[in-house]
């Protein structure tokens, strides 16, 4: 474990120097090795120690400028990044860009250049279009952190999910643990990023939901299961059978169902969805008695998750939020000290 070189907490009392991190940006989790996941997890441990101090603030990123550019409404992710950057003593500029500016023809490239000209070293970005952070990264000389792009990726969410699971699962590892993600997988960047992190972690990953919201994922799972030479354990399944998915599950993560899915013809009604796929105490009876219940938020209580389950015994939903700050501190810190490999 020492091989991953996570910064000990006392190192955070100094300005960040070279870290063991080797990527300039954090846009997706698809290219990360397992030691890199471990480095983030262990750096998060150090950040949690900082958060337990009476004054939860370290000078690690003093003098660095972090711009938070969100083209989509968000409270928890934006605030979480802001708090994380401030805890590290970075200068933080938060821009809530109107999503309508996309249609007004304001170019993302122009905005990114402006942000850079104003002195930003790091750019945390959320955008409704999949892949938009890659465009930003091409035109920004600092680091870009993807705070969620379209249906594609939400790396910091999947990292905090993994961290939270490891905290609670006996033995501290999700390897071989049955993790079930239930809901609108098709439109979920949270699900996609969790697929990369959980398969890398060797979990027994299950995706479950109505067939219209799972389309395409069986092919992904099939390719993953095929002879791959990945050399990692674990498995990856896709099913519309919620009972089978929940049977002996160690972790259940419900995804937000958006109302427009009904208008788009993908679901007959939210009522029917809740009746067939809502996570209720009754349905959880088939799971491991110590099952963890997670949700990336914001929740539609009574639709994808019953209110009593959301606050029930196994729920770690508020801990996900707390861990989100620590994980984001970790990735900001690691990227700030990254020495990118060329090429």
């Amino acid at each position: 474990m020492a091989a991953v070189n996570a910064p000990p907490p006392e190192l955070l009392d100094q300005p960040v120097a070279a870290t063991a991190w080797r990527h300039r940006h954090l846009l997706d989790l698809d290219g990360l090795t397992w030691p890199e996941f471990e480095l983030i997890m262990q750096t998060t441990d150090s950040m949690r120690e900082v958060l337990r101090r009476p004054i939860a603030k370290v000078p690690a990123l003093r003098g660095r400028s972090v711009t938070i550019l969100f083209y989509e409404a968000s409270t928890r992710t934006r605030v979480s990044f802001e708090v994380a950057a401030k805890n590290l003593s970075a200068d933080v500029v938060s821009i809530a860009a109107q999503s309508s500016s996309i249609t007004k023809g304001e170019s993302l490239v122009d905005t990114v250049r402006t942000v850079e000209a104003l002195g930003a070293n790091m750019l945390v970005m959320r955008h409704a279009v999949s892949g938009a952070p890659y465009l930003a990264a091409r035109h920004f000389s600092g680091s870009v952190l993807n705070g969620g792009d379209g249906w594609h990726a939400h790396p910091s969410q999947a990292l905090l999910d993994l961290y939270t699971m490891r905290q609670h699962v006996p033995g501290g590892s999700v390897r071989g643990r049955k993790v079930v993600i239930v809901g609108d997988v098709l439109h979920s960047r949270v699900a996609r990023s969790n697929i990369w992190s959980l398969t890398a972690a060797g979990a027994d990953l299950w995706l479950c939901g109505p067939a219209t919201l799972l389309r395409g994922f069986e092919a992904w799972a099939r390719s993953w299961r095929g002879p791959s030479g990945r050399g990692v354990p674990g498995s990856f399944h896709v099913t519309t059978d919620l009972g089978a998915a929940l049977r002996d599950a160690d972790v259940v993560m419900a995804l937000r169902i958006q109302r427009e899915r009904q208008a788009g013809g993908l679901l007959p009604s939210l009522r029917e969805y809740a009746a067939r796929f809502g996570i209720t105490a009754e349905r959880l009876a088939g799971a491991n008695p110590d099952v963890l219940v997670m949700h990336p938020g914001p929740m539609n209580e009574g639709v994808e998750i019953a209110p009593d389950v959301a606050i029930g015994r196994g729920s770690v939903i508020t801990e996900q939020v707390t861990n989100g700050v620590a994980v984001r501190m970790a990735v900001l810190y690691l990227l700030a000290g990254a020495e990118p490999r060329r090429g």
Binding site: D30, I102, S107, L108, V109, H127, V129, S130, G131, A132, Y134, L135, A137, R138, D149, G150, W151, H152, A153, R189, R192, R215, G216, F217, A219, W220, R222, S223, W224, G226, P227, S228, R230
Partner: protein
Amino acid sequence: MAEGAASKPRRGAGRGAGSRGAAGRTSAADANGVGAAGAAADIGVRLASLEISRAWLVDPASGREGPGELVVQDGMIEAVTWLEGADADGIDDAGVVVAPGFIDLHAHFREPGFEDAETIASGSAAAAHGGFTTVCLMPNTSPPIDQAGVLAGIRAAAVASGSPIEVLVYGTVTAGRGGETLAELGELADAGAVGFSDDGAPVRSADILRNALLYAAMLGRAIVDHPEESSLTVGAEANEGLVATVLGLKGWPAAAEESAVARDLAVLADVVADQPGARLHLTHLSVPGSIQRVREAKAAGLPVTCDVTPHHLALSDEWLAGARRFAWAADERHGIADPWRDHAITAEPYDPALRVNPPLRRPADVLACLRGLADGTVDAMATDHAPHTSVDKDVEFGLAANGISGIETALGLVLEAVAAGELGLMRAIDLLTAGPARVLGERLGRTVGLIEGAPANLVVFDRGATWDVTPETLLSRGKNSPLLGRALSGRVLLTVAGGRIAHVDDGFAERPG
């Protein structure tokens, strides 16, 4: 020629036939009247004399290819000589190739209305750089070519451009491309429309399509349809498949194309029973189901033709993920190509230059298209050259305009397929020349081939020489090529259209005369 003239042809390492091939190439051509300096000034000038000795001639019209010599005098092909025996020694198809000029059934030159993306003049220069001597322009301009006056303006612009490229023009099927009522097809035909298309969009109404096929048959013209069942492609960004799933892009399913093809063919069968002269051409087919339906329709005797673009016969959706391998190099032993599994990703994902309609398909789909090209189901390659400005392309993938600037890279991609053994050289050239000529039929108004006594319509290219695809080397105003930064073989040395010089490579011109 402006920027392109700056670079010298390079010999591709390991590609040609060694020294004997190189010797053949260096003595391949002698041109008088092709000036070395200021080549741009020569564009449009009648080719006074050209002698190409010891090259590989490809003549799809006669089905013949081999070592030969070709002489042009005063713009006319004076002699075509096939070499045999000792004279042919050392000449192979890996060096300088002479073929009839290419014919593009599908290009967008953006004039009038979008001249910052392309003009008739810039598009013609790009076409010539790609080896094309005839282009058929799509009518989705602004205003659209739905009236004879607009069409006449384009023909005038073609003459004014000074380029000898033959510019043929489609009229729209429906007024304003609105899909509601027929455009004035008769007047458009009288003004010279080569056929009719609402390309960029399908003819949505089956009833309008039926009437258009009937009416166009009366005028001796084909309807060119862009097959897409639009209800399946709302907001679509990429081929529906693993790549779109992983990248979180909205899928454009194969069924949207195949079902439109099936509908079009059913309507055609219905029309033909009444009006045997009806003709349907399906453009830019991209999925196996479409190819198979056309195969069956042709076997049943329906008057349908189709084309595939160079990008759909070489590139795949894996490129969106950042893979840069050609479709035939994808490993599909496990039933599905997966660039992540194969560690095939070498570039950044989401290059907006790759956004095109129909989208780049799975490697398996590409191979099915290649089989259709090889077995004669597909009649032609057409570029769907779709230049765009950086304003429309250097944006988020999902907001980028659809289209690839492809008329200059078509030959290079086709030659990649030939080099990989996916297509024979003769068939590849046929699909760029005699194939589209057969689709156009009497609308072309000339015979395609290396024919003594005919005006020279020729391309001379060197399979042993590469060129770098860069914004500077592309003569099109549209720099939206996913091949930027690559070297392509088949450098075009000379393009002659109607006996006049359309493109000349500076390295070619500087050879001693």
